[in-house]
C-alpha cells in the first residue's frame, strides 16, 4: 500500500467519512483512518441504532394505546427489548457496511487503527507513517463520559452510558437518566415505552434546555402523562452504587432528594477524543473550552491540518459534521465553497412527539431585543394529525416584525424531524413568512401547520 495520499482523514464518523466521499469525488487520493467500525458513533452507537429503538418504542405505544381505537385489536401485548436491540444492531451493521461500500466506490483507502499526527502533514498508524500531500483532517469525534467527581464513574453495569444502553438484554425496572438533552429524552422515551420507571434529571431549568421553552414544555406535558418523572434545576451532588442499584442525591431548590434506581444512564455531555493523537507536537491548538481552534475554513493552527465535526466546536451534531467534511474536501481540492451558516443547522430530538427547531428560540429573540412576532398552529387543529391520533404539539414560527424573515422555528409533532426542513430551506434562502404561505401546501398534511403558523404570524391564520 502506498504511504502517500493527497488527504488523510482521522476518524470514520459522519464528518470524516463524508469528507472522504467528497474528497474522492473531487479526484483526491484519499485515506481514512478508523480504529473501530466505519460510521463512527452515529452509525454504530448513536443516531442510527437509537432511532431503531425509538421506532420500537413508538410501535409499543401504538399497539398498547391507540391501536384498539383505530380498529386494530392485538390482544395481549408482550414487549421484547432484546428483539428491539437485535433489530437496532442489524440496522447499525447494515449502515456501517454501507459506509464501507461507499469508501470503495469513491476509491478511499481505509486504514484500520488509531492515527497520531506529526509535523509536515504526517499520520502514524501502528508504526507506519503516512504522508498527506495536501491536508490532514481531524474528525476524531467524542465519547461517552460519566461524572466521577460525584461518584458516578461509568462502570458499564449500574452506571452506564449509551454505549451500554444500546446493547442491554432487558430493560431495567427503574432507571435514572442524568441529563435531559436530546439523548436523555430519547432514552427516557425508549425505557418508558418498554416499561421502566424513568426519572429524568436535568441541571438546567427545563428538559431539552437548548430548545424554545414552549417546545420543551409541550414535551414535558406529554412525558408527565406517560408518567416519566422529571427533575429540573436539579444538581446531582452524589451517587452511590450498591449491590441492588444506585442511589443518587440531587439538590432541587436547595433541598436534597434521593432517587433510587436499578441503573443510571449518564447522558450529560461527551468527552472530546483529542488525547493521544499528537495535537501538541503538530502545533494544533485548542480553545478555552477544549475544542480544536479553527478558522472559517476549519483550518487549525497547524499548516495543512483541518478539524471537523464535534471536535471543531458546537453544535455537536452529525449533519453539521458532515457538512464540514464536504466543505473541507472542497477547500483542499481548491474550490471556494460557500461558508456554512452555523445559525441554520436544524436540531432534532426523536422522542414522541419529536421536537425539532432551527434558528433562534423566543428566549434568544428577547435577549437580543429583536422586534419579533410569533405565529403558532396546534396539531389539534390539523386534520391529518387527528386522523393519525397524533395531535400533540404545534408549529411555532418567530418572524422579524419589520421584514418577516424567519428568526426561528420550533416544531413539536409526530414527524417534526421531517417538517423542520421546509423552514431550513426557507431560512437558507432568506425567504420570509410570506414565501412560506405563497407556496401551496398539500391537503391534508402535517406541513399545512407550517403554512398556517406562517399565516398566524401575519394575523391571517385560517383554521383556528
Amino acid at each position: 500500500m502506498s504511504k502517500t495520499f493527497d488527504i488523510i482523514i482521522l476518524g470514520g464518523g459522519p464528518a470524516g467519512y463524508v469528507c472522504a466521499i467528497r474528497a474522492g469525488q473531487l479526484g483526491l487520493n484519499t485515506a481514512l483512518v478508523e480504529r473501530g467500525k466505519l460510521g463512527g458513533v452515529c452509525v454504530n452507537v448513536g443516531c442510527i441504532p437509537s432511532k431503531a429503538l425509538l421506532h420500537s418504542a413508538y410501535v409499543a405505544n401504538l399497539v398498547q394505546h391507540d391501536a384498539k381505537k383505530l380498529g386494530v385489536s392485538v390482544g395481549d401485548v408482550s414487549l421484547d427489548f432484546a428483539a428491539a436491540i437485535k433489530h437496532s444492531r442489524q440496522v447499525s451493521e447494515q449502515n456501517s457496511k454501507g459506509v464501507g461500500f461507499l469508501m470503495k466506490k469513491h476509491g478511499v483507502t481505509v486504514i484500520e487503527g488509531s492515527g497520531t499526527i506529526g509535523t509536515g502533514r504526517t499520520v502514524t498508524v501502528d508504526g507506519t507513517t503516512y504522508t498527506a500531500e495536501k491536508a490532514v483532517v481531524l474528525a476524531t469525534g467524542t465519547r461517552v463520559k460519566g461524572l466521577p467527581q460525584v461518584g458516578l464513574e461509568l462502570d458499564g453495569k449500574t452506571v452506564i452510558s449509551t454505549d451500554e444502553a444500546l446493547f442491554l438484554e432487558k430493560v431495567p425496572s427503574s432507571v435514572a437518566i442524568v441529563g435531559a438533552g436530546a439523548v436523555g429524552c430519547e432514552f427516557a422515551d425508549i425505557f418508558n415505552a418498554f416499561g421502566a420507571k424513568v426519572t429524568l434529571i436535568e441541571m438546567l431549568p427545563q428538559i431539552l434546555p437548548l430548545e424554545d421553552a414552549e417546545a420543551a414544555d409541550a414535551l414535558r406535558k406529554v412525558y408527565k402523562k406517560r408518567k416519566i418523572d422529571m427533575l429540573v434545576s436539579a444538581k446531582v451532588s452524589k451517587g452511590v452504587v450498591g449491590d441492588d442499584g444506585v442511589t443518587i442525591t440531587v439538590e432541587v431548590d436547595g433541598k436534597a432528594k434521593e432517587i433510587k434506581a436499578d441503573m443510571v444512564l449518564m447522558a450529560a455531555g461527551r468527552a472530546l477524543n483529542l488525547e493521544d493523537i499528537g495535537l501538541e507536537g503538530a502545533g494544533v491548538e485548542r480553545d478555552e473550552r477544549g475544542f480544536v481552534k479553527v478558522d472559517e475554513h476549519l483550518k487549525t493552527t497547524a499548516e495543512g491540518v483541518y478539524a471537523i465535526g464535534d471536535i471543531a466546536g458546537p453544535p455537536m451534531l452529525a449533519h453539521k459534521g458532515s457538512r464540514e467534511g464536504v466543505l473541507v474536501a472542497e477547500v483542499v481540492a481548491g474550490r471556494a465553497p460557500h461558508p456554512i451558516k452555523y445559525d441554520n443547522v436544524p436540531s432534532v430530538t426523536y422522542c414522541h412527539p419529536e421536537v425539532a427547531s432551527i434558528g433562534l428560540t423566543e428566549e434568544q429573540c428577547k435577549e437580543q431585543e429583536l422586534d419579533y412576532v410569533v405565529g403558532r398552529f396546534p396539531f389539534s387543529a390539523n386534520g391529518r394529525a387527528r386522523a393519525a391520533m397524533e395531535t400533540d404539539g404545534f408549529v411555532k414560527i418567530i418572524r422579524g416584525k419589520r421584514y418577516g424573515e424567519i428568526l426561528g422555528a420550533h416544531v413539536v409533532a409526530s414527524h417534526a424531524s421531517e417538517l423542520i426542513h421546509e423552514l431550513a430551506v426557507a431560512r437558507e434562502n432568506e425567504y420570509t413568512v410570506e414565501e412560506i404561505d405563497l407556496a401551496v401546501h398539500a391537503h391534508p398534511t402535517l406541513s399545512e401547520a407550517v403554512a398556517e403558523a406562517a399565516l398566524d404570524s401575519l394575523g391571517r391564520v385560517l383554521h383556528t
Partner: protein, 416 residues
C-alpha cells in the same frame, strides 16, 4: 441547403442591431425574401429578410438581444439537415439581452411599514404582489429578504454584487452595500429608474462625444421677468418669520419643482444607460476660498422654501469652514450655480458629471423692456442651462426652462 441568417448592415452607419421581435419562429417554413424579424438600428426599425428558403431551424438571438453586424442570428435549413456546422462555424451573435426600463426601487412611501392596528395585524409588507426589483431583460438574483431590505432603503440591487449561490444577492450584501455606498458610489436616496439606451441614443452619444469633449454640452438661455418674484420675496421677508429668503432660495425651490415636472432633466449619464431619479437632490455651487464646492440639498422637491433656505445657509457655512462630509457634497441629481451677486449678467456653467444639467443664474438688473408696445423698466434675470446632449435634447431642456420661467414669473404656480 443551410442558410445562415446574419445581422445585416441595414443602414450605412449601423454597427449593431437590436432584435425587437421575431415575425417567424423556430419550425416555420420561410421563403427567400420573407421578413424574419424587426431590427432596431442606429436610425430606425428595419426588417431583416430571409436570404434562402427552408425551415427556420434555430434562433440564436432572442428578442431584445443586441447583435453586431455580421454575427449569426438564426439558421435556415431543410427539416432534417445537420446544422451543427453552421452553428459552430460562426460565432453566435449572443449578446446583451436588454429592453425595458428597470424599476430599481420602490417609492419610499410604499415601502414604509403600514400602520398596524395591532401587533398581530402588523404584516411586514402588503401581501399583494408588488413591483419591486423586477426587471425584464436582466433578472437580478436576490433573496426575498434582500429585496425587502433594498426596497425599503431605496437601494438599487443592480449595483450590488451578490455573495450567495450563483451570485445571488443576500441580506449581508445589501447591508454591506449600504455601508459602502456613500463612499464608493454616492447613491442618492429616493429611488430612480434606469433606462437602457436605444440605438438612436447610443449613436447620438457617440457622435456628440466625438465632436466636443467627453460631455457634449449645449446651452439654452432665457430671460425671466423677476418683478413678481421680487414682490413675493419682499412680502415674505416682511412677515419676519423664519429665515430671510434670498432670490437664490426661490430659484432653488422653483428648479426642484420644475425637475419634478421634467424628470428627463433629473438624470445621470451612466455610460450604458441613463438613470432617471424619482427625487430631486439639488447640488448648489458655493464659492469657497480654495475654489468651489457643491453641497447637496437632499429631497429638495419635498422641502418648503423655508426649509431649503435654512438648509442651504447651514450647508454653505460649513462648506466655507471646510466641514462638509463627502456624502454632503456628492450625489446631486442636478446643479444650480448663481453668480448674480457678482453682477454677472449671464454665463455658462460646466456640467458636473454624471449629472446631465446645470442652471447658471445671472444677476437681476433693471432693463428697458417692451411689453405690448409700451416701454417699461423691469427687473430681469438671465438663466442659462447647460445640458448633456446625451441625456437632454434641445426641446427637453427648453420645456424645463419654460417651467422655471413660468414659476418665477408667477410665483403662485409653485403651489399648483
Amino acid at each position: 441547403m443551410v442558410t445562415k441568417v446574419l445581422m445585416e448592415a441595414l443602414s450605412p452607419t449601423m454597427e449593431e442591431g437590436k432584435v425587437l421581435s421575431w415575425l417567424k419562429h423556430e419550425g416555420d417554413q420561410v421563403s427567400d425574401g420573407d421578413v424574419l424579424a424587426e431590427v432596431e438600428t442606429d436610425k430606425a426599425v428595419m426588417e431583416l429578410q430571409a436570404r434562402g428558403q427552408g425551415v427556420l431551424r434555430q434562433i440564436l438571438a432572442g428578442e431584445g438581444a443586441t447583435v453586431e453586424v455580421g454575427k449569426l442570428v438564426a439558421v435556415i435549413a431543410d427539416p432534417d439537415e445537420d446544422i451543427s456546422g453552421a452553428l459552430g462555424g460562426t460565432e453566435a451573435g449572443a449578446a446583451r439581452p436588454s429592453a425595458k426600463p428597470e424599476r430599481a426601487a420602490e417609492e419610499p412611501e410604499t415601502a414604509e411599514e403600514p400602520a398596524a392596528p395591532t401587533t398581530r395585524e402588523a404584516e411586514p409588507s402588503p401581501a399583494e404582489s408588488q413591483p419591486t426589483t423586477e426587471t425584464s431583460g436582466r433578472r437580478i438574483k436576490a433573496s426575498p429578504l434582500a429585496r425587502r431590505l433594498a426596497d425599503e432603503r431605496g437601494l438599487d440591487l443592480s449595483g450590488v454584487s451578490g455573495s450567495g449561490p450563483g451570485g445571488r444577492i443576500i441580506k449581508r450584501d445589501v447591508e454591506s452595500a449600504e455601508v459602502t455606498a456613500p463612499v464608493a458610489a454616492p447613491a442618492p436616496e429616493g429611488g430612480y429608474e434606469d433606462v437602457e439606451l436605444t440605438q438612436i441614443r447610443k449613436t447620438i452619444a457617440k457622435r456628440l462625444v466625438q465632436s466636443i469633449g467627453p460631455v457634449p454640452h449645449f446651452f439654452l438661455t432665457t430671460e425671466v421677468d423677476m418683478e413678481r418674484a421680487w414682490e413675493a420675496r419682499a412680502q415674505l421677508n416682511a412677515l419676519e418669520q423664519g429665515p430671510r429668503i434670498s432670490f437664490n432660495d426661490i430659484i432653488l425651490k422653483v428648479v426642484a419643482q420644475a425637475l419634478v415636472e421634467h424628470p428627463a432633466c433629473n438624470a445621470w449619464w451612466m455610460d450604458d444607460r441613463i438613470r432617471y431619479f424619482r427625487d430631486v437632490h439639488l447640488a448648489v455651487a458655493v464659492a469657497v476660498d480654495e475654489g468651489l464646492i457643491t453641497p447637496v440639498i437632499r429631497h429638495a422637491d419635498r422641502k418648503s422654501l423655508r426649509e431649503i433656505s435654512a438648509e442651504l445657509r447651514e450647508l454653505a457655512e460649513r462648506a466655507r469652514a471646510r466641514k462638509l462630509t463627502p456624502e454632503e457634497y456628492t450625489g446631486g441629481t442636478f446643479s444650480v450655480s448663481n453668480l448674480g451677486m457678482f453682477d454677472i449678467d449671464q454665463f455658462t456653467a460646466v456640467i458636473n458629471p454624471p449629472e446631465a444639467g446645470i442652471l447658471a443664474v445671472g444677476s437681476i438688473t433693471e432693463k428697458p423692456v417692451v411689453t405690448d408696445g409700451d416701454l417699461e423698466v423691469r427687473r430681469r434675470m438671465r438663466l442659462t442651462m447647460s445640458c448633456d446632449h446625451r441625456v437632454i435634447d434641445g426641446a427637453t431642456g427648453a420645456r424645463f426652462l419654460q417651467s422655471v420661467k413660468l414659476m418665477l414669473e408667477n410665483p403662485l404656480a409653485l403651489v399648483w
